[in-house]
């Protein structure tokens, strides 16, 4: 699954640690998602979408 997490984070000038804090996960989890090593659960995807004010499809795309 592809995602735009890194781009969206960079646009807001947030660090991985800041985003992790916002989403109640570890920095390692943010890093793994950004690198495509780990796909988030639906609740976490919804939290990310809510945080960025976007829909889930705007952030995560099926390959």
């Amino acid at each position: 699954m592809n995602n735009r997490l890194k781009v969206l984070r960079a646009e807001r000038d947030w660090t991985q640690a800041q985003l992790a804090t916002e989403l109640d996960v570890s920095r390692q989890t943010i890093n793994a998602i950004e690198k495509g090593k780990f796909d988030p659960s639906l609740p976490l995807a919804f939290r990310a979408a809510r945080l960025f004010g976007l829909s889930i499809e705007d952030i995560f795309q099926d390959q």
């Binding site: 800041q18 804090t21 916002e22 109640d24 996960v25 390692q28 989890t29 780990f38």
Partner: protein, 140 residues
């Protein structure tokens, strides 16, 4: 970001709190295990009532450790939970397969020493540790 940051910091603090709590219960369990194991010989000269009390205490503290571990796992995020699950599955699988194979070797008198449960515990502990390290490196 302010309100959410405060809330998230609570999550991080909660994770630390759960880890410290698990460490405390694990240490307490180890101490009571040592007392139950060595007490009969070195402290109370095999008094049966005291030995039973020490074993019951060890099991009770063990129950506390299990609950603390459950709380700790529930407090982790989803990737950390996956790493833990993979490591525990590896540990259980290796422990079951190698443990029973080890027991068969003992029953068939192929190995000279008796198969000890402590060997299995050490094997499972090391396998679990290896699994956690491998999982952490995999998602780094």
């Amino acid at each position: 970001m302010g309100k959410q940051t405060r809330h998230s910091s609570e999550w991080e603090a909660n994770t630390v709190r759960n880890t410290v709590r698990l460490g405390f219960w694990t240490l307490a369990w180890l101490v009571t295990m040592a007392i139950a194991s060595f007490g009969p010989k070195f402290i109370w000269q095999s008094n049966e009532v005291v030995t039973i009390a020490a074993i019951v205490l060890n099991i009770a503290v063990g129950a506390g450790m299990i609950l603390a571990n459950k709380r700790h796992l529930n407090g982790l995020d989803e990737l950390q939970q996956k790493i833990q699950l993979d490591a525990m599955a590896l540990s259980l699988g290796v422990g079951l397969i190698v443990g029973l194979g080890y027991s068969n070797l003992d029953v068939a008198n192929i190995i000279s020493a008796d198969a000890e449960i402590s060997h299995l515990v050490i094997l499972m502990g090391l396998t679990y540790l290896t699994g956690v390290i491998a999982g952490t490196r995999k998602y780094r």
